[in-house]
Structures are given as C-alpha cells and as structure tokens.
C-alpha cells in the first residue's frame, strides 16, 4: 500500500491518535500517540503490509517538552510495493521516558531498542532483554543525550581501567562562538561544549 494511503488508513483505525501526514523529499512521516505505538505497529505490519523494520532511532530535543522522539522506519518487502517507505514518530517525555517495545511485533527491533536505551536512556516496556549494547554494563551515562559533553565524562570501567575526558582543543568540532568563554586557555573543555549543562549529570 502506498504510504499516503497507509497513513489515511491508520488515521481511520486510530481516530484522534494519529497526527497529520507530512511529506519531505518524497518520504512520508506521521506522528503517533505514544500509548498506541505497539498497536499501530501491529496494524502497520499486519494490515498495511509494511513487514520490514528498517531502523529505529531517537532524537533528543534538549530544552523542549516532550524532550525525546522515537523514529521508526518501515518498509515493504517481498511484493510489488518493495519501494514503499513509511516513517512513524512518537514523542516521549523526559519525566516518563518509556515506550512500548516493538519486539513482540518485529523481532528485528530487539537490538535497535537496546541501542536507543543505551544511547539515550529511553526504556522499553515488554522488551525481553533490555541491557546496554554498545557501552559496558554499569556505565552511568547516556552518551547521545544532548547534555552529555562531547569530550565525555570520567567513569570507571570496573576492575580494568578508568576513562578520562578527551582533549578537544584543535579538534574539528563545531562549537557555537558565542558560548566560548573569553579565557579559553584556562577554561575546562566542557565550557566549549555548545549545549553542555554546567552541573555534571547524575
């Protein structure tokens, strides 16, 4: 089913829970209420035929509310509509960063959701094995959050090593000029970070 028809069908199936369809560069995007993510995914897979989950990612709109956004990319495989692509997004607040897991619907969601949890700290209800995947077990931070500084924060690698923040001077990174303090020489490199919070993360 072509993506615009699929979105119309979704809106009919879940009235009031689906946002407006948006088109950009030939791709169709729709916002979905957080409560019905799994039901919508099951409908998208079962009825609309988007049987393939391409990707799950998340975006941190630091400073906005709701803060996080989940992004799901679906696609049709093994039929005449192979080229169809649909993006579904849902907002997740910082106070309650949980979403229903899609693993019962698509097994391929397993590692994608673990990565989102590892990198941004969004938790998934009903995920069979929600552990960190790229960072080690017991790592205290969520590195892809916007308030995590680029240079890193010091942390223990239990029993083995100690990770220190990396030097940033002279690197290729882009920092907003108005945020760079005049005393660059003595200032900690965290101060160069465009979006860093002054206090360390808990």
């Amino acid at each position: 089913m072509p993506a615009p028809d699929a979105i119309a069908s979704l809106q009919k199936q879940f009235p009031g829970k689906i946002g407006q369809a948006k088109e950009f560069r030939g791709e169709w995007t729709v916002d979905v209420d957080r409560d019905i993510v799994r039901a919508a995914a099951a409908y998208i897979k079962g009825t609309l035929g988007f049987n393939y989950i391409v990707d799950i990612s998340s975006v941190d709109y630091f400073g906005e509310e709701p803060r996080f956004e989940m992004v799901y990319e679906f696609c049709v495989l093994g039929g005449p509509n192979n080229q169809q692509h649909l993006r579904v997004k849902t907002k997740v607040s910082e106070d309650d960063p949980t979403v229903d897991s899609l693993v019962p619907v698509y097994q391929g969601a397993d590692w994608h959701e673990r990565e989102v949890y590892d990198m941004m700290g969004i938790k998934f209800n009903g995920h069979p094995d929600l552990r960190r995947i790229l960072m080690w077990d017991g790592y205290p931070y969520y590195p892809l959050k916007k308030d995590f500084p680029l240079e890193g924060l010091s942390s223990d690698l239990p029993g083995e090593a100690f990770s220190r923040p990396a030097p940033l001077e002279g690197g290729p990174f882009v920092a907003a000029p108005e945020l760079i303090p005049p005393t660059v020489g003595e200032a900690p490199t965290t101060a160069l970070e465009p979006r860093a919070k002054p206090a360390p993360l808990s």
Partner: protein, 416 residues
C-alpha cells in the same frame, strides 16, 4: 529430552542423540560449559565477542556482545559540518570505504535536494562496484579460511591489490579514501583510469571462475557450509537482515533495483537469490554478485558521459582554487563553506544504499544550518548480527565459525 531445535538431521542430530543417550544411561545431567569466543579470535573478523553455552559440542545458547569498537560516530557527526564527517564514513565499513563515502554523500544530497551531474553519478557507480568486489572477495576469502582453505584467502588478496591500485589512482589513497564530497567528488577520473579499470575487469572474470572452481564443489568446503546456519525467509525479514544474507534466504530485495539511485536503473544486472538460506547459499549469492558487479562495471566504464562531475551551485560546493584566488564571489563562497558548512534545510530524510554488507542507511535530522541535529547510522552488520542468538543454538561449535564467516560482517560498521 533436549529442548534444542535441531536444524540439520545428520551429524548434529547424531551427536545430540548420543548426549541424550549418555545422560539417560549414566543418570548424570549434562554439564554446561561456557565458552568465550572473542573479542580477539581470528574467526570473529574484528572484535565480536560471543558467549557460548555448550552442551558437549553443541551450542545451547549464544549471547553476542558488541561495542568493543564503539567510537561514538553519531555523537561526533552532531558536532561537525556535513563535509567534515566524510572521513569518518571511511571507518565504518573499512573493507569498502568508497561505498560508504558514496552512501553518505547521497544521503546528505537527498536532504539538500541535489542531484549531481551524470558523469559524477557514473563515477560513483564505478566506485561502489569496485568497493563491492573488494569487500565480497575478502568476505569469501575469510569464510574459506575459517573453513580451512587458506589458499583462497591469499589468492583474493592478489585481486584486491589490483583494486587498491585502481583506487589509489582515483583517490590518491588506498584505504581511507574520503573521495566524495557533498555534491560531488574531490577529483575527476585521472587519465588512463578507464583503460586500466577495463583491463582489470577483463582479467577478473577468469579469476571469479577460478574462485568458483576452488570452492563451489570443494568437498570439505561444501560439507562445512551446506545445511549449516539456515535462516528462513520469515526470520530474515523479521530480523531486518539485508544484503547477501537476506537474498541468500530467498528474499528478492536489492536497493539498487527496488529504490534505484545513481544510474543503476540504466544498467542490466540481475539479483541472485538463494533457496535454502544456509551458509552455502550466502556464499553462492556473493559469488554471483561478483559477476553482476563486473557486468555493471563493464557497462558503466564504456558509457561515461562527459561534462562536470560536481553540482554547479557555487554556494554548495567548493569552487575551483584558481577562481578562489582571482574572483571575489568565489572567495566568499569558499569562506562561508569552510567556516559554516553547507546550509541545509529543516527536515529529515532517510537514505539507504546497497553496500557490500547490506543496506547502509543514514537518518539525518536537520534543524537547518551546517551541522546535523541528529544523524543515525543504520549499519547492516549491526542488524545482521542481531540474529546470532537465534541462529547459533543447535549447531556444533565448529559450525559457529562457518556461520560467522558466512554472515560477513565488519565490526567498525557494527559498533560505529
């Protein structure tokens, strides 16, 4: 009774039967052994670690552990301009850096709404296919080596050396190419490149047949691969596999055919599809893809259009140096491009390209300006490996090595 679902009825089933018989007769429960495979094991092709729970020689549980090569590429991408990130894409799939360069450039160009001129597109096709041949050769050579055929691994390096020479001629670097820019390439085809590439393609056909004869009917190789590591069609789709691993299971999906990019729709080539979904099918798919890549290369190399290789928009692509040094406007454009980067519109795009390992996708979320707000890299190796914990149980320990080899992953891309 063992709860393990056995996929092959012969040696594995016999071994399992013997274990059950032994347990029934001796009254002893089979003691499980935990074996740690990797992260620095030659057959794990990088730094993959798999925790295997063994019952005798049979794997009963497998827990993959990744992240040893995690460098935070997505975080880095959020803090630099689009063009600055190109060298980082070399280090994703480091066996085919040119293909990753092309995929990244195409993703950002989709966000910008640009299409580069035909000559540039054909050059990118040539780059992608050369990279595919190089990566598939290594993947097959490593699979053969894991199954005990060292010779193939050495033979394919002769061919890869020739490809590296071509790439050096084209980009100036052998390994970390950083060839593409957003909106074009760093340089045009050098004189003599087309003839050398044609000569390589011509002699490479014979080498594929040689590889075919060495492996495809080799008794040991076939025994090690046939009926091992079967991925069903449904599982392959459900887990989101891409590339030869998906096609080996009998699913017809190739981004070059289904969502054609560059000039792929103009070339005649076919997409090989497996029937069983075992290691041997995946190997055969890669072998056939080599032949198809040669077909594409032949067509692309004979019809290279003339004209520019980069987009003409002076505000999007670095102007030529002689113009920068003599003209005011070009000087300003260069200054803005270097300091602020390309001015991207607000919006979000996903672009997936058919890379040697599967579909390499970039999800770019832009709030405008020269820096992506969020860039997610959908790496094929990461997704392909996620099936391991389902695929490995029930197999013999020695089959694990063949399965890992046949999945053909790169950890630089998996961990990012």
């Amino acid at each position: 009774m063992s709860e393990t679902l056995l996929e092959t009825p012969d040696s594995v089933a016999r071994a399992a039967q013997q274990i059950e018989q032994f347990q029934a007769e001796s009254g002893k429960m089979g003691e499980k052994l935990i074996l740690n495979l990797g992260p620095s094991h030659p057959s794990t092709h990088g730094v993959l670690r798999v925790l295997l729970e063994l019952d005798g020689e049979i794997v009963t549980k497998a827990i993959p552990d990744i992240g040893y090569l995690h460098r935070g590429d997505e975080k880095i991408a959020e803090n630099m301009t689009y063009n600055q990130f190109v060298p980082y894409t070399d280090r994703l799939d480091y066996l085919a850096p040119l293909a990753s360069n092309v995929a990244y450039a195409l993703a950002v160009e989709k966000l910008m709404g640009w299409t580069i001129p035909p000559r540039g597109q054909v050059i990118r096709v040539i780059c992608s296919e050369l990279a595919r041949i190089s990566a598939h050769l290594l993947g097959m050579g490593a699979l053969a080596m894991d199954c005990g055929a060292m010779t193939v691994f050495l033979y394919i390096f002769t061919e890869r050396e020739k490809i590296y020479n071509l790439i050096e001629l084209l980009t100036g670097a052998r390994f970390t190419t950083s060839y593409t820019r957003i909106g074009g390439q760093t340089r045009d085809l050098p004189p003599g490149f087309v003839d050398q590439a044609k000569a390589f393609v011509e002699q490479f056909k014979g080498k594929i047949d040689e590889l075919d004869q060495l492996l495809s009917r080799n008794k040991i190789f076939v025994d090690r691969n046939k009926g091992i590591g079967i991925i069903t069609k449904e599982d392959a789709i459900d887990f989101g596999l891409t590339g030869a691993n998906l096609r080996g299971s009998g699913v017809y999906y190739d981004v070059r055919k289904d969502r054609p990019y560059l000039t792929y729709s103009e070339y005649g080539f076919s997409v090989p599809v497996g029937s069983v979904g075992d290691c041997y099918d995946r190997y055969l798919c890669r072998l056939e893809e080599l032949r198809q890549s040669v077909r594409i290369l032949e067509q692309a190399l004979t019809h290279i259009p003339s004209g520019p290789i980069n987009i003409g928009d002076g505000k999007g692509f670095l102007p030529r140096k002689d113009k920068v040094l003599t003209k005011m406007e070009e000087l300003i454009h260069q200054f803005i491009l270097v300091t602020e980067g390309i001015q991207a519109p607000v919006g979000e795009v996903y672009f997936g390209a058919e890379n040697p390992k599967g579909e390499l996708g970039f999800y770019i979320n832009s709030k405008g300006g020269g820096v992506p707000y969020r860039m997610k890299i959908r790496s094929p190796s990461f997704v392909n490996l996620s099936i391991l914990s389902k695929l490995l149980p029930g197999h013999m320990m020695s089959d694990v090595v063949a399965i890992l080899g046949s999945l053909d992953f790169v950890m630089g891309e998996c961990d990012r």
